[in-house]
Subunit: 156 residues, 2 copies
DNA sequence: CACAATTAGTTGCGCGCGCAACTGTTTCGG
DNA sequence: CCGAAACAGTTGCGCGCGCAACTAATTGTG
């Protein structure tokens, strides 16, 4: 707070360490690395694969299109992540009868097993992380998240 | 806030859209893209180059080592960004007399000109962005940023 | 004072990314 | 209906990334 207003008050130089966009990016990378210890080291998933697992697992089958829209990943990134997961037999694809352009992605039995093991661990990590915030900070943080998302036009 | 506590209360599925690490990452990408309209489209800089400009510009010459530590970018990424900027004659390098392993990086006259033009625009963008937050949200947000950085052991 | 360990910086390499182009399918306008 | 446009998904390509290995200079230790 102090740094923000002090720096913005017409100073010439820019101190990157106090610059919000930069700090936000660094924090996001840090949180992501912290979290990826679970899904990377223990389950051998990278970020796109983890996101596909999380999205497919919370539904009963969905299309790559839907995964891309929901995670905001590029469709090629989704396509490749699904291909990897299919090779590992964690998901399977079936051409949709209604629209044969689409392919329904579903968790296999092994995929459901991993999902059931993975999700509680990941949620626990999130809980641990947010536990370092006071109630006021958490409220302000989540409120700010929503306001900034809305300002930037990031869809819900 | 509601989403966070509701979801963490023992639900089986994971809704990625309400998952803080994921939202944080998405927001950081969004902010970064918003900001990069300035330094990419108007000045032809990518993120590493912009960070090098910002770091070098706020000092009177510094080493690649210092830039890497300060921005937390990988040293190879810094090295390549400096090389690009040198080609465009925005920075210049001189071997340090004291320690001939080091090379002092400095803005050229053109680099200083760009820096002077660039920084106010970027700071204005930050100001616009944060203006969408209430005082309470901003305070909570910056406080949370600090707490999370500290929790993750991200150095100041 | 020699030689091992450390440090600054660069470079070869494999990989994952997004863009653009492509295939196959569905939809819509005339 | 038929052809153009739209859409789901995949693939070829160039690029930037981090890792590991490298060069060159410095520091520390016996």
């Amino acid at each position: 707070m102090a740094a923000v207003s002090a720096r913005s008050a017409g100073e010439l130089g820019l101190e990157l360490a106090g610059f919000v966009p930069y700090r936000l990016n660094r924090l996001a990378v840090g949180v992501s690395n912290h979290l990826s210890e679970i899904y990377r080291e223990r389950f051998g998933l990278d970020i796109p694969e983890w996101r596909v697992m999380a999205t497919v697992g919370s539904r009963h089958g969905c299309t790559a299109q839907h995964i891309a829209a929901s995670t905001r990943m590029h469709k090629t990134r989704v396509s490749r992540a699904i291909a990897h997961l299919e090779q590992r037999e964690l998901v399977e694809r079936a051409s949709s009868a209604a629209d044969r352009r689409e392919r329904e992605v579903r968790l296999t039995k092994a995929g459901r097993r991993m999902y059931a093991e993975l999700v509680p661990l990941v949620l626990e990590r999130e809980r641990e992380l947010l536990a370092c915030l006071t109630k006021e900070h958490l409220r302000g943080f989540v409120g700010a998240l929503e306001a900034l998302e809305s300002f930037l036009g990031l869809p819900d």
